[in-house]
Amino acid sequence: MDHLITDPTDFAKTKIPALEQWDTLLRCHICKDFLKVPVLTPCGHTFCSLCIRKYINNSAKCPLCLSELRDSMLRSEFLVNELVECYTNFRPSLLKHVQVDKLNQLEPEVIQESSLIEIDSEPDVEIKEQSLTNNDDIQIIGNSSEASKSKMTTVPKPNKIIKQNNLINKKKSKSTVEGMFNRKQEFRNSSSSSFSHQQMAQCPICQEFFPIRTLERSHLDECLSLQSLGRLPKTNNKITISKTKSNILPFSKKMSDSTSELSSSASKRDKSSSPFYLPTKNINYSSNLTSTSQHKEKVQEKEKISYVSRYVNSIANTDKSERLPKLDYSNLSMQQLRQKLNALNLPSSGSRQTLIERYNYYEMIWNSNFCDSLNPVDESDLRRQLASWEASNIPKSGNSNKNTIGNLIQRGDRGYQKLLTNFKNDKFDRKAWSQMYSKEFRKLINEAKLNYKKPSITNTKLSFNPHDAPMKEQSHTEIIKEAPPTHTNKSELNNNNIDNMDDNTNNNIDESKTDIEKLKTHTETDNNISTDEDFSKDLSQTLNNKF
């Protein structure tokens, strides 16, 4: 879903490669993304609040230095929070500015052109990201300024310039970006020959105006796919334009001609409200659209200050709302547990294990939200988060299980579910499992016997095939397949407790292989093959004899 992948290495080939380190430092070592609600550990390391709380639930130590860590020790880091937010806000334009190095030597006109292209080229990769609206904004101004450009008829000789830029761009950008660029180039060529409003057409989905070619070739598809994802098409173009301006000020000044036109056209669109219109954070700006650029600068100033003032005015939230305590589940009856959940307005249905997991997760997001975050959301939001987490993490009865065993043997019965949950929780009941599937196992074994073909001589790998076994559980089934029935009953199927699969079993497998081989070929080699290393040698001998 989320395709925005910003990486510190984005800065590796820019004017200031040291920014790569800076970029890395502002990221969480657990999710490798920018720190979100950063918290400080007593050992001096910083992580996202949610990331570290999730990890502490598993093991109570710092991921970086392995020193002891409990969640009550975590402290919010307001400064880092503002640093990261401020940085992520200007990062796209920073990246752009340190990248366009060579172009500065060209004529001013060219710079304008190239900066347009730079902006255009990036978001194609990142277009689907929803959380970082900044990037979307840039994409949008790319499009719309282009549209306005086609009306301006002030581009004297685009071909030559584009060629130049193309060369530079090729060095920096990936193929997708290039594709995007070429598309623009085509459009620009055509538009330079004859500009007119007739070439613009309205997209039936998002109500935006685009050049017909762009609309036909790419935009409709994009718009439709966005729609099918249930996300609104980029109707917030109109909302975000002003914000983008504020982000890239020097650039927007140059574009002042087109901005007036932009804002007027944007205001028109404002009136023809789209059916997909959804209010967003940026809605504050939408009302300012018709006003002049002065106002935009004000907006920028306001943003500049806000990080500082927010930091200065930030107060730890610990006293405001209570921290949810950890529960000692061993002393809680099922009823008490239900009461606890009910008190928090949480659903109290499901098995004991489900209830415990539910409380644990809720406690985690609650504490992260009310203890660490500067802008806590309210409880109903947390409950929504919990619901979506449960939907994807706690298996519901029957189908829709991600586990490969689930795929391997499609079963909806309860016993299977129970076993499977235990399987995940390290309490796997091997006997019950092998009893339940003894028929299947035997069938598989028989099939394997029938289908068993001589393994290729050059096969240096262990007895199972990676293509058939993308997960470990399957690998083990593979082993079972090849083992004779007597071994099946004994053989251990437990993935988590893998060490129980001792070497004897393994030898047996190899022996059984040769047994089957003998059955098949009816050769009378009486070699007693027992070790792995001899196995393939002897096998090749046998085969050579046969032919």
Binding site: T9, C31, Y55, L64, L462, P466, D532
Partner: protein
């Protein structure tokens, strides 16, 4: 399929765009959590000139849980058993989410360079290694020649 966490996408991209020397990791086309890995035997070790195939699987809980890694190529090593399972602390108790695929594979390569027979997984190999180190190394070299030889 549950959506792939951003972190996994990032790591995969990095592995492909900026690979570690001597190590390749390619995600399986059907399951992006499953990687086919090759590691070159480190120079100066008995595994020199060998190319070892491994499989790596990122469990649902990754990065909170360690990736599961296993040798597919047979190898004579005191810390790797005949099923290819690897005895390495960071894959078990010392896993930390600050580690990543890249670092795990590097650690495995380092394990090839310095076997630790005092904390064995394959007991017979470890015994052999302690009793007769040179002989064991020769055997490891033989196996490398036999099973992990460079394919053209």
């Amino acid at each position: 399929m549950a959506s792939l966490p951003k972190r996994i996408i990032k790591e995969t991209e990095r592995l492909v765009s900026d690979p570690v020397p001597g190590i390749t990791a390619t995600p399986h086309e059907d399951n992006l959590r499953y990687f086919q890995v090759t590691i070159e035997g480190p120079a100066g070790s008995p595994y020199e000139n060998g190319i070892f195939d491994l499989e790596l699987y990122l469990p649902d809980e990754y990065p909170m849980e360690a990736p599961k890694v296993r040798f597919l190529t047979k190898i004579y090593h005191p810390n790797i058993d005949r099923l290819g399972r690897i005895c390495l602390d960071i894959l078990k108790t010392n896993w930390s989410p600050a580690l990543q695929i890249r670092t795990v594979l590097l650690s495995i390569q380092a394990l090839l360079a310095s076997p630790n027979p005092n904390d064995p997984l394959a007991n017979d190999v470890a015994e052999d290694w302690i009793k007769n180190e040179q002989g064991a190394k020769n055997k490891a070299r033989e196996w490398t020649e036999l099973y992990a030889h460079k394919k053209n």
